[in-house]
Amino acid sequence: MANDLNRITYVEDEPDIREVAQIALETLGGFTLDICVNGMEAVEKAPSFEPDLILLDVMMPGMDGIETFQKLRSNPKLAKTPIIFMTAKAHTEELERYSALGCAGVISKPFDPMTLSDKIRGIWDHQH
C-alpha cells in the first residue's frame, strides 16, 4: 500500500545514538533503514534509497539538520517525503521554526529507544 511506512533514511552523527536507534528501528519497528552519518551523505544517498520518511538530527557538525532539510527538499524526488527532526532543542521557539520549515514532526532527544518506533508511526499516521 502506498501509505505503508517501511523505508526510513536515518541521519545521525553520534555513533552510540545511531547504533541504539538502529536496533530500535530495525528490531522493534521492523523498518528498513538507510543510515547516514552526516547531512551530506543523506543528500547524496536519499534520492536513490527513496525513503518513505526521513529522520534527521538537527545538531550536526558541518551541514546541520536545517541545511540538510533544505537540500533534501530541493530534490524533486524528496520534495514531499515527510521529514522528522530529532533535537534536544525542542523548545517553543525552535518548534515554531521547524514547523514553519514544513517538517512532519519533531522528536525530542534524548529519546527512549523502546518507544521511538511508536512515536515515528504516530507522526506518520497523523500525516496520512
Partner: protein, 124 residues
C-alpha cells in the same frame, strides 16, 4: 551476537568512553575560566562535548547522568548568551554543575541503564 548482546556492548562502550570525555571537558572548562579572553571559544567547545554526553547518555538510558549534563549544558549556554566571561558567582555555579556531572559519570555503570539486559524478543 544477539540484539540484547549488541545493546549491552553499546552500553559498555559508552561507559568506557566517559572518562576521556570528562577529561576533555575538564581541560577545556579550566581553559575557559582561566583565560577570560577565550571564554567564548572554549566554552563553546565544552558545550559541544557536554551536549554529546547529554544526548547519548540519555538515549542509552543513563537518565541521571544525562540530566546532570543537561543542567551543565544549559548553564553554559546561558553564560555564552550573556556574551562576557561569567563573574565569580556564575563560575562557582558552573564548577558545581560540572562536578556533579563528573561525579555521576564516574559512578555510571552499564547496568544503570534500563536497556541493560532487556529481552527485545519479548517487546512489541
Amino acid at each position: 551476537m544477539s540484539v540484547g548482546q549488541q545493546l549491552q556492548a553499546i552500553l559498555e562502550r559508552h561507559c568506557a568512553s566517559l572518562p576521556d570525555e570528562i577529561t576533555s571537558v575538564s581541560t577545556k572548562f579550566a581553559e575557559a575560566i582561566l583565560t577570560p579572553a577565550h571564554f567564548g571559544d572554549r566554552a563553546r567547545e565544552v558545550t559541544e562535548i557536554v551536549h554529546r554526553i547529554n544526548g547519548s547518555s540519555g538515549s542509552l538510558g543513563f537518565r541521571t547522568l544525562s540530566s546532570a549534563a543537561d543542567k551543565f549544558e544549559n548553564a553554559l549556554n546561558d553564560s555564552l548568551a550573556a556574551g562576557a566571561c561569567p563573574d565569580e558567582a556564575e563560575i562557582r555555579r558552573l564548577r558545581s554543575l560540572f562536578s556533579e556531572m563528573q561525579k555521576l559519570s564516574q559512578q555510571t555503570q552499564p547496568t544503570d541503564s534500563h536497556l541493560y539486559g532487556i529481552d527485545l524478543s519479548q517487546v512489541g
